[in-house]
């Protein structure tokens, strides 16, 4: 139960970082990554995962399966 960021599509705008209610998203090198241990897919907090809601590029914040 966690999301991931497709690095090749990410614009590194950082919107997901400050929308994430769990502080699960951090800059690593020059790319943002989601810590699967902290990600809850926003369950209980929001209707939909915030990173995917705010991300400007379609299909870039997706379930990590």
């Amino acid at each position: 139960m966690a999301y991931k960021i497709i690095a090749s599509q990410c614009t590194v705008c950082g919107a997901c970082e400050f929308e994430c209610p769990n502080a699960a998203i951090k800059m690593k090198g020059d790319m943002y990554i989601i810590d699967p241990a902290k990600c809850t897919e926003c369950e209980g907090a929001f209707d939909k995962p915030q990173c995917a809601e705010v991300c400007p590029v379609p299909k870039t914040c997706v379930p990590a399966k």
């Binding site: 599509q9 614009t11 590194v12 705008c13 950082g14 919107a15 400050f18 929308e19 929001f46 209707d47 939909k48 915030q50 809601e53 705010v54 400007p56 590029v57």
Partner: protein
């Protein structure tokens, strides 16, 4: 007489001081204020050094943008967030994002090198009011190091109402809001979605929320005496006619300036409009709309749609001289250059305004119904001072019964590169000058001059280094002036 010309190139402080000591000004109007008669003193103080808010100031003062707030909370159909190119000049385009600390070093470095610098803006990519923590830290850092720099912010308005009090507390006295519609139905053709309070909204609901927040933000700024500029992107067939309504709404809510900008659309940019073949307006279509809006909220016509990391006078971009890798590790602000420049400008400006008023009076006195659209090659200082072949843009003025009015600019490909002019380039320049009858420049060769004449455009270089309005007045009088003026001339 002093000339600002020399200062438009990097110049050392001693030569600036020498210019200042160069003795008095020959004009009796020296030192007079450039303030327009119908403006109150407090407003003039706010805009007189701001190149975007004062057409007159844009001849002398420079702005810089720092891209510190890359996150955005709405999607516009004319924007593609993945786009980045150093050769493109348009809003939202930037080559490197900066942290607030890098931005602070960049601003101080530029302030030390570019004496014309008067304004620092945060204008994308992204939204400065949404990515607020980074915008705020940057402004606080700069305000403590360079207290007299004007802080300026550009926003889509969605989060603006939440930031107004903090903006006021930081003395941000210029805010630009991009408002493309006041009818959410039209908004659905421009905004596919917005992100607001933890939720993505689409369709009519998205535009409805955005519209309400924009109007609220504008009203709150007006109530606090913060000057607002409304940017509207003119999208033919989508909101072009509707912008008349937008102009009315924003005027009622106290907007200081309305800036109608042409849509920039190209499939290569990968924007929705670019990919679906939505075209931008022609220069004459834009002018027709702007003329229609005349009398409503005051129009800004000298916008160059600059990059989000632009540095320099409007129409020039020195951003590439100040990239991240060129910034020093530590840098200290030295105010001497900017102060000396301001002194020189204060004098030159009074002189320019007197000459301008005289010229406008002459054109009106000619009492003719004739109008003349003139394109001028200038690099600032309010003078005709660029060689035809070196111009990358022309400023366009209209002389007629109303006097001399600045109506816009036309970007062109530089005709003369390395001394050789290309016919194909000249054709594109002629195309860009559509509707223009006369070109004023510092110098032009016989060959392009003849070709322009064949296309119905006269080119005159006899007014090199004169004030723009004085040169236009002389030419207007030569065509439309009363006979006694012609006799004494």
């Amino acid at each position: 007489m002093l000339s600002v010309d020399c200062l438009l190139q990097p110049i050392d402080l001693d030569s600036m001081r020498a210019k200042l000591a160069d003795g008095g000004c020959s004009s009796s109007s020296c030192g007079s204020s450039a303030k327009p008669g119908d403006m109150d003193e407090a407003t003039w103080e706010k805009i007189k050094d701001h190149p975007c808010y004062s057409e007159e100031a844009h001849h002398y003062f420079a702005r810089m943008h720092v891209a510190v707030a890359p996150a955005c909370n709405i999607q516009c159909n004319y924007c593609n967030r993945k786009y980045d190119c150093a050769n493109e000049s348009r809003p939202g385009v930037v080559s490197e994002k900066l942290t607030p600390d890098e931005a602070t070093r960049k601003v101080i470095t530029v302030a030390n090198e570019v004496p014309q610098l008067s304004v620092l803006g945060i204008a994308g990519p992204g939204d400065a009011c949404y990515d607020w923590a980074k915008s705020k830290t940057t402004f606080e850092n700069i305000a403590s190091d360079i207290p007299d720099i004007k802080l300026c912010i550009s926003t889509n308005g969605l989060m603006l109402p939440d930031r107004v009090d903090e903006l006021a507390a930081m003395n941000v006295d210029h805010v630009t809001i991009t408002i493309n519609m006041v009818d959410p139905e039209i908004g659905t053709k421009i905004y596919p979605w917005i992100f607001y309070k933890g939720k993505r909204y689409t369709e009519l609901e998205a535009s409805q929320i955005l519209h309400e927040r924009q109007m609220l933000g504008l009203e709150m700024l007006t109530a606090r005496g913060i000057l607002t500029k409304i940017n509207s992107v003119m999208i033919p067939g989508v909101n072009d006619e509707h912008l008349v309504e937008v102009n009315k709404w924003v005027k009622e809510r106290g907007a200081f300036l309305h800036n109608v900008m042409p849509l920039i659309s190209d499939p290569a940019h990968g924007t929705h409009f670019g990919l679906t073949g939505q075209r931008g307006p022609t220069a004459m279509e834009l002018k027709a709309l702007q003329d229609k809006l005349d009398g409503g909220a005051k129009l800004m016509r000298h916008c160059r749609q600059c990059r989000a990391d632009a540095v320099g006078l409007l129409g020039e971009d020195r951003g590439q001289e100040f990239t991240k890798d060129l910034l020093p590790e530590t840098v200290t602000y030295d105010s001497s250059k900017r102060e000396a420049y301001r002194e020189v400008v204060a004098r030159e400006r009074g002189d320019h305004v007197a000459a301008k008023q005289e010229a406008i009076g002459e054109v009106r006195a000619a009492d003719s119904a004739g109008t003349l659209l003139v394109a001028v090659a200038t690099k600032g200082g309010g003078r005709v001072n660029v060689h035809f072949g070196h111009a990358t843009e022309f400023q366009v003025y209209e002389a007629g019964p109303k006097g001399i009015v600045f109506v816009g600019h036309r970007k062109v490909e530089q005709y003369c590169e390395g001394g050789f002019g290309e016919d194909a380039t000249l054709d594109s320049v002629i195309g860009a000058l559509d509707g223009v009858e006369l070109v004023l420049c510092a110098k032009i060769g016989d060959c392009p001059k003849d070709q322009l004449a064949a296309a119905g455009i006269a080119v005159i270089d006899a007014h090199a280094h004169d004030y723009i309005e004085s040169a236009i007045s002389a030419e207007y009088q030569a065509r439309y002036g009363a006979s006694e003026i012609a006799l004494t001339a």
